[in-house]
């Protein structure tokens, strides 16, 4: 997506890259990615690097906590960890799940403000609800695509997360399009392209994300 990247760069002020790098020494967007799958780690790392983000990838929730200094072993936090702008974590991991990691992060005064995004190949409504209620910024369906990550970093970087908090945390409505399985129109110009409709939980072709709220419109559910 070098072309897309080039187009986006042209629309940003000055020489600012998508992840906030400018010639004036503004720090880069630092993402901590957590996934037990070696293949998924490689892909998410490349996705983020292609958006010029600084990336730290770890293979477990406990390593993520170690990196952040939340593991209780060492009270001193690494300088690197203080600058994490976003945490993206897989849901299903051995040991500590992404949900458990999310709870630990939201339970920490130092890190609770960092947006956490959950990734999962299984779109179980109760699971999604639980994560959003616990404070996850968004729930992304795997396989994660460039457009998902690009959209994420763009609205987080622009501080739209602050606008989001006006609406507060909310549960996914029970009459969410997800259950009806009909395509919904994109809620904003920057949302990902509508994906093909499928009633299977294990569909590989559809791209789906759920968030607490990232637009003024009440519904943010994408087609299944």
């Amino acid at each position: 997506m070098a072309v897309a990247g080039a187009v986006l760069r042209q629309n940003l002020p000055g020489n600012m890259d998508l992840c906030g790098k400018t010639g004036k020494g503004v720090p880069e967007f630092h993402v901590l990615a957590v996934d037990d799958s070696i293949v998924d780690r490689k892909v998410i790392e490349k996705l983020l690097r292609s958006l010029s983000c600084k990336v730290t990838v770890v293979d477990s929730g406990s390593r993520a906590l170690q990196f952040l200094g939340l593991d209780g072993e060492n009270s001193s936090v690494g300088f690197d960890a203080l600058k994490v702008n976003l945490i993206m974590t897989d849901y299903s991991m051995p040991g500590m799940t992404g949900y458990e990691l999310l709870k630990k992060i939201k339970g920490s005064s130092a890190f609770r403000e960092i947006p956490v995004v959950i990734m999962s190949s299984e779109r179980i409504l109760a699971r999604i609800n639980r994560c959003l209620e616990e404070g996850a910024e968004e729930f992304l369906s795997k396989p994660v695509k460039f457009s998902d990550v690009e959209r994420l970093t763009r609205y987080l970087l622009r501080g739209e997360a602050d606008e989001v908090s006006e609406f507060g945390k909310r549960k996914l409505p029970k009459n969410c399009d997800l259950e009806v399985s009909s395509p919904s129109s994109p809620s904003s110009p920057s949302s990902p392209s509508p994906s093909s409709s499928s009633s299977s939980d294990d569909s590989s072709s559809s791209s789906c994300s759920y968030s607490r709220s990232s637009s003024p419109l009440p519904k943010r559910c994408k087609s299944v």
């Binding site: 070098a2 799958s37 490349k46 292609s50």
Partner: protein, 149 residues
Amino acid sequence: MDAVHLKRQLITFTEQLFREGFLDEQFNQLQQLQDENNPNFVVEVVSLFFQDTERLLDELSKALDQANLDFKKVDGHVHQLKGSSSSIGAQRVQRTCIIFRNYCNEKNVQACLKCLQVVKREFALLKSKMETLFNLEQQILAAGGPPSI
């Protein structure tokens, strides 16, 4: 054979892989991520997938060979394989895993054993096709052609 002919071969071959369901749109995503900074990205990810799958198939064979079959363990491995195959666009492998997981849920030993055979076969097929694809790309580069499709 010159680069132009090789390139045509590569395009036809790749289209066939998509048509036959070996690969899906997610593979396109990987190709789009490849750039001059990471000219071997696709080969690297796919190689990782091959290694990881071999490990998982090994674990699955062992787990299904146990007297007291732990279906949860089997399902765990299949779930991992389903995830990684979906991440690289290996559609047929992924779909086999979905069926496999259903049989794990039903605790159907025979069906699980059969699924393991199918998944092994699909993986071997995919591996051979990907090796052909990467070979063609190498030949194009050697013939002085541009690397990307």
